[in-house]
């Protein structure tokens, strides 16, 4: 080949990397169009550029069952998750996994406009569940959303969901705004 491995530069001082990038965009610059070295180099790399674009444009379809296979393997790996006991079930015991409880409370947080719930951690009082359970919730706020307003709405939403769906009374609710997302 006319191109030296050790040095990308053509005798005219142009860089073959630049030529390659120009080809990608479809148009060599003015110099390259009239320079014999650049023209020779372009002729060498043009078929590769065309072939690369052709291959890259070929649609690739993953197997239809990829997601379900992954999720089956994932679900099989979920170890016996930590559970919390729910109150008010006189005599009969009712437990919920922390994962499931967190799912419900995050969904409640998400109902507030401009809020995406992230980390959700319940810390139930080990001695008396009927009193209250503390919650730590991290959220991402939509840009421009006042944190105070959002936090108040989130507290109301998760408190209501905890009571209605889990029978839990939430005590302290700490909210941590960890991120802001675009409007």
């Amino acid at each position: 080949m006319a191109v030296n491995v050790a040095d990308d530069r053509l005798p005219c001082g142009h860089d073959i990397d630049q030529l390659w990038d120009h080809l990608a965009k479809g148009a060599p610059d003015e110099h390259a169009r009239s320079c014999e070295y650049c023209q020779a180099a372009l002729n060498e790399i043009r078929p590769l550029r065309t072939a690369t674009s052709e291959l890259a444009a070929e649609p690739v379809r993953p197997p239809a069952d990829l997601s379900s296979k992954v999720m089956a393997a994932v679900c099989a790996r979920i170890a016996s998750a930590p559970r919390i006991a729910l109150p008010g079930t006189a005599g009969n015991r009712l437990f919920i996994s922390e994962r499931a409880a967190a799912f419900i409370l995050r969904a409640a947080g998400d109902t507030v406009d401009g809020v995406r719930a992230r980390s959700c951690q319940l810390t139930p009082d080990p001695h008396d569940l009927s009193i209250s359970t503390d919650l730590k919730l991290s959220i991402s706020l939509r840009f421009g959303m006042p944190a105070l307003v959002a936090a108040r709405a989130v507290r109301m939403a998760v408190r209501a969901a905890a009571r209605a769906q889990l029978g839990l009374t939430l005590g302290r609710i700490d909210i941590d705004v960890v991120d802001v997302h675009a409007a």
Binding site: A51, A56, M71, F103, T111, G114, D179, A182
Partner: protein, 221 residues
Amino acid sequence: MIRRGLGHAGYMGGKLIGSTEVEFGVPRPRLGAADGESPLQQASAPLDDATLVVRAREGDVTAFEDLVRRYKVPVYRIAVRILNDPCSAADTAQEAFVTAWRRLPEVKAEQAFAAWLYRIAVTRAVSTLRTVRPHIPFDETVARDRRPGPEEHALANGLAAALRCALNRLTPEQRACWILREMEGLSYEEVATILHTTPGAVRGRLHRARLQLAEELTPWR
């Protein structure tokens, strides 16, 4: 670099997922989706990677399923292009996702999830390639003997097919570099992060790959 590129919603509209993303109906994150919508609609709008990663890490299987749906096309596509075999690519993609689930606690910067995931998939694909078909060090004379002539290229039905054959003769690392940079359109920095190397080393590998590939496509000049 990675924080601005891979894993950010702005990037999802770019080449990473590109047309195939739309074609196969995989939801892409729309950061503006929540604006002016009712709370219920907002809850069903696609969430950003960081939110999904934090949720998945705390055991939210649904959040992880969203990530799988979002990235299965590019992960499979990268695997099948490196391995050139749909069966082992499907296995590789599946294993990459399951490994990702297991190792979610290790993700430090949630924004960089895509790069982290691709790294798992590419590493696995490259090592599969080495196990299945150990790479023979590139030897000019041997390679010249094995290299198909123009007639064979013609039989292989065209330029793209010839490139596919030529890609098979690169080292696994060179091939991964080529695919990530030239076919997935990632930046040198992103490719370097995924391959655990430096942008300079990526440039070097790409340069050598280009020389070899261009030479193999000589009949098409």
